[in-house]
Assembly symmetry: C2
Homo-oligomer: 226 residues x 2
Amino acid sequence: MAQNLVEQTTDKIIEYIKNNNIQPGEKLPNEYILSTDLDVGRSTFREAIRILISRNILEVRQGSGTYVSDKEGRSTDPFGLTMIRDKTKMISDFYDMRYVLEPEVASLAAIHATDEQINEINLLSKEIEQSFSAGNDDHVELDIKFHSLIAKASDNMAYSYILPIINTSISLFNKNYTDEDAKKFTVKIHREICRAIEERNPLSAHDAMLVHMSNNRIAFKRLIKK
Amino acid sequence: MAQNLVEQTTDKIIEYIKNNNIQPGEKLPNEYILSTDLDVGRSTFREAIRILISRNILEVRQGSGTYVSDKEGRSTDPFGLTMIRDKTKMISDFYDMRYVLEPEVASLAAIHATDEQINEINLLSKEIEQSFSAGNDDHVELDIKFHSLIAKASDNMAYSYILPIINTSISLFNKNYTDEDAKKFTVKIHREICRAIEERNPLSAHDAMLVHMSNNRIAFKRLIKK
């Protein structure tokens, strides 16, 4: 099948979604109607649909049809981590990047967070403490949510998209995060971050996050030396 | 076709590539051999291959076969920009992110750049000046290359992957970059960035890039107000 014909068809479908303002979670017209409407053959159309599914632009719900995906075309593995061979270097480089980004993000969150977001951030901080006390691994997922929510509260689309990906990527290392001292530091500094955001104090939020990132980076360097 | 069977097959193919250390640009065994080897049906196998192509992990060369892609699984549209409706907000947010990242990146480039990279950075800076003098649009592409090369010279995998994507995304706005004063500023500050990297001076590289990013952000805000 001609590859550029398939590509043109994916473009046509994307245009169709935009022009008809079909929102994430809404259903696409059925195959027959849409392929006729766009004037493309059925097999080309199906191939284009498969590609849009793998690009997270569409999703199939079994027995129900094809929908515009809530992922809105964002890649689940944008950095190609699946294929990266030197993962330790990659993760170390991510930590360096977080060190630069997250203090700025916390500062913006102190300015832009909604009251609802502040409540949620506080709640997550408490749940992380409970997971530490219980000695389970829930804190790994919760910590990603905590930082992702702060990124969302920054009201910057680039941060709110990039940070969850970075944090998910490096989370496999947090599972080794058993150092009791490090946990105590984390509890203390998470509380400070929460307080600063709640008090709408950008500088304090920035500084607390900077200390947090420094501690994380030190812990990571210690870990890879073992 | 069962979707999870296809997913399992994509995972198997990825494992096969890694275990056999097939490098980017190298060829995959033919369909018959590999599908037999992995013990999966031909139609499932083909579907998995199509998905890996759309994920930039594999690529087809017409009449030659299937190869491991040089893109190494990195998404060409990781931010899902295709689907973003408020592009001005997105680009404004990207500028804010660049403002935080690029000075740090320039600082690292002053430490880690190879002599060859320094020559290339200098060359690109001169080519940008020539494009400004000639009054053509080449400087848009050249500017992306200039900043991407500095990111690469930082020796940080996260920066060297993320910054080219961000800069490409916002480049459409640079086409409106006709302000003669802004061009003069750019020429001057690009030269300063080059000199600081060449002199292995991280602080000067950081500061020159910070001034550059500030000027860019001011120019962008002026542009969207028009």
